[in-house]
């Protein structure tokens, strides 16, 4: 009861917390790019650029370089987002020249319908039969590439649950650490998943086993809450810190400047 009261008193909502955490991964000199349905990543990039990382290079929707949108629009794949860009990058011939190269666009911030204990992602099918699946998901799009091209991947998940965080994905649409340990490295792949930011916690990967690990719990969320909401056994360190909370200034920027229309809340189930 006091916990609830405590929560109500917060100056931020969970989407704002997640945006704040995500933004901390993007620094001056990094190049970031978003795809469709990516309100949280877009908010995180815009927040980083307004605060600690003014020199973060942003390629909106993989096409508009260094745009100056008034705010987050109703789609992250439409022209309002890349208004006032310094370059329109053609995708087939141009964008992939850079994206296939580990030197550029090193960090990707993406969502996935399923993630497993080794950070493998599934956006393809739920069920065992690829050609008659229980659920046909949208498809791998560019993520199937990014998982193998030496990128550092930052996943976001607004609905931390045993259905979205599973022991083994039904289908590997994007490579994480595969079966764990050195398996990814043995295939000649560098980079890989770095963190998973959910509505309950921040997760990362144990360096040796490559198993997903609890890095911090959001304020008001217990380790047991997180265990119960995860479809496999997380690595849980002895001390679990609380996730750093957004500053007043960050919250104000998100609400008043970056996303006054609240597009970021679309990704969260009504609750």
């Amino acid at each position: 009861m006091s916990g609830k009261a405590h929560q109500d008193a917060r100056h931020y909502t969970v989407d704002e917390l997640m945006i704040s955490v995500l933004s901390s991964f993007f620094e001056d000199g990094d190049q970031a790019c978003n795809g469709m349905a990516s309100f949280l990543p877009v908010c995180a990039f815009m927040l980083a650029r307004l605060t600690h990382a003014p020199g973060l290079v942003w390629l909106a929707s993989a096409t508009g370089l260094e745009p100056r949108p008034a705010k987050v629009p109703a789609s992250t794949l439409e022209s309002e987002l890349w208004s006032d860009s310094v370059m329109y990058m053609e995708q087939y011939g141009d964008f992939w020249n850079y994206a296939m190269n580990g030197r550029w666009l090193q960090k990707f911030c993406v969502g996935a319908a399923q993630l497993d204990m080794y950070g493998n992602a599934n956006n393809s099918v739920i069920g065992a039969d690829f050609h008659a699946p229980k659920v046909r998901l949208p498809g791998t799009a560019g993520l199937g590439d990014m998982g193998s091209l030496g990128k550092l991947l930052y996943y976001w998940n607004p609905n931390h649950s045993p259905r979205s965080l599973v022991e083994k994905v039904d289908f590997v649409s994007a490579a994480g650490y595969l079966g764990g340990g050195d398996e990814r490295e043995d295939l000649g792949l560098t980079g890989g998943p770095q963190a998973v930011v959910t509505n309950l916690a921040v997760l990362d990967f144990e360096p040796e086993s490559k198993r997903m690990r609890l890095r911090s719990a959001h304020r008001g969320v217990t380790v047991d809450d997180i265990r119960a909401a995860t479809g496999f056994e997380l690595v849980i360190p002895t001390d679990v810190p609380t996730t750093p909370e957004p500053t007043d200034d960050q919250v104000r920027l998100i609400r008043e400047v970056i996303d006054p229309d609240g597009m970021r809340k679309r990704e969260f189930r009504a609750s």
């Binding site: 469709m36 349905a37 929707s61 096409t63 508009g64 109703a74 789609s75 992250t76 794949l77 439409e78 022209s79 890349w82 329109y88 990058m89 053609e90 995708q91 087939y92 011939g93 964008f95 992939w96 296939m100 956006n123 393809s124 690829f130 050609h131 008659a132 699946p133 229980k134 659920v135 046909r136 998901l137 949208p138 498809g139 791998t140 799009a141 560019g142 993520l143 199937g144 590439d145 990014m146 998982g147 193998s148 091209l149 289908f171 590997v172 649409s173 994007a174 490579a175 595969l178 990814r184 295939l187 000649g188 792949l189 679309r266």
Partner: protein, 297 residues
């Protein structure tokens, strides 16, 4: 340099055969050649394979209408308007078969097709199940110079590509206004055996000659040219008009219900006998000015 100008009816009946592989310009809610898509449905084409980077409402309709039985692409979704429910149902029932490719693998397959190479390599999707799932077209091969293995992506040559453009001349030279170019225009029409271009307007070549750097497709690869104002509606076509939210929402709302979905298709695809009638049914002048206005064009 004969004129290639024709009607959408004639273009589709002449150049698209049952069973063809059709490359469709498309993103989730962007720049799809929807007038051509509606004509495929009206002419009851069957057994088409559809190639998309990211399919949207076009793929949903083509799945529902029984026009396509396979998809080659990287994703299908209407983004903020949700998954394509008729496509989902068709795939989940086994009626539409999916060859799922990552973006670089799709680009490599089409790039090889365009360049008459048996394959092009990518280093994307190594470690994924997409390779195991698709041995006919994806194969891990060694680097002859001792470097890392690559995924060989077999050449794909679509029978026909459907694209929508801002303007085209009667010989088929295609221009876009200053805007971002979707990947489709970069490779789809180059890989395909035939190309049908719909455009907001057909203009004399002399207009194109004023800005030859904006021509993105040479007339010699184009087979048919059709003028279709608002030819991408209900998808967006920057900088002319944005996607039609109301239209997408209306479809999303009825699409799970067989009868209601059929009524929607009857009204918007089967009944209109012209682009003018289609636009009128979709909201007419008020709709058009709303879509232009909101874009701030």
């Amino acid at each position: 340099m004969d004129s290639k100008v024709t009607t959408i009816d004639e273009a589709i009946s002449t150049h698209v055969q049952h069973g063809d592989v059709v490359a469709l310009q498309n993103m989730a809610t962007q720049a799809a050649p929807m007038a051509a898509v509606r004509e495929l449905i009206r002419q009851e084409k069957r057994g088409l394979g559809v190639v998309v980077l990211v399919g949207g409402i076009a793929v949903d309709w083509l799945s529902f209408a029984g026009v396509m039985d396979r998809l080659i692409g990287a994703a299908v979704t209407m983004e903020q308007f949700g998954l394509c429910q008729r496509y989902r149902k068709a795939v989940e029932s086994g009626r539409v078969r999916v060859e799922e490719l990552s973006e670089t693998a799709l680009n490599a397959r089409l790039g090889a097709g365009a360049r008459n190479l048996p394959y092009l390599p990518t280093r994307g999707l190594i470690g994924t199940d997409l390779i195991r799932q698709n041995p006919d077209n994806l194969r891990l091969v060694e680097d002859p110079f001792g470097g890392p293995a690559v995924v060989a992506c077999r050449a794909l040559v679509p029978d026909v590509a459907l694209v929508h453009a801002h303007r085209v001349d009667p010989e088929g030279n295609v221009q876009y206004k200053p805007t971002t170019l979707w990947p489709d225009i970069g490779i789809f029409p180059k890989a395909a055996r035939k190309v049908i271009v719909t455009a907001e307007e057909i203009v004399p070549s002399d207009i194109l000659r004023r800005s030859p750097d904006r021509t993105v497709l040479p007339g010699f690869v184009v087979d048919a040219v059709v003028e279709v104002p608002y030819g991408a509606h209900p998808t967006s076509f920057f900088p002319e008009y944005r996607y039609d939210s109301d239209f997408h929402l209306a479809w999303a709302k009825v699409s799970r219900d067989d009868g209601a979905a059929q009524d929607f298709l009857d009204k918007h695809v089967l009944s209109p006998r012209s682009q003018a009638e289609y636009l009128s049914a979709a909201g007419g002048a008020a709709m058009m000015s709303r879509l232009r206005g909101e874009e701030g064009a």
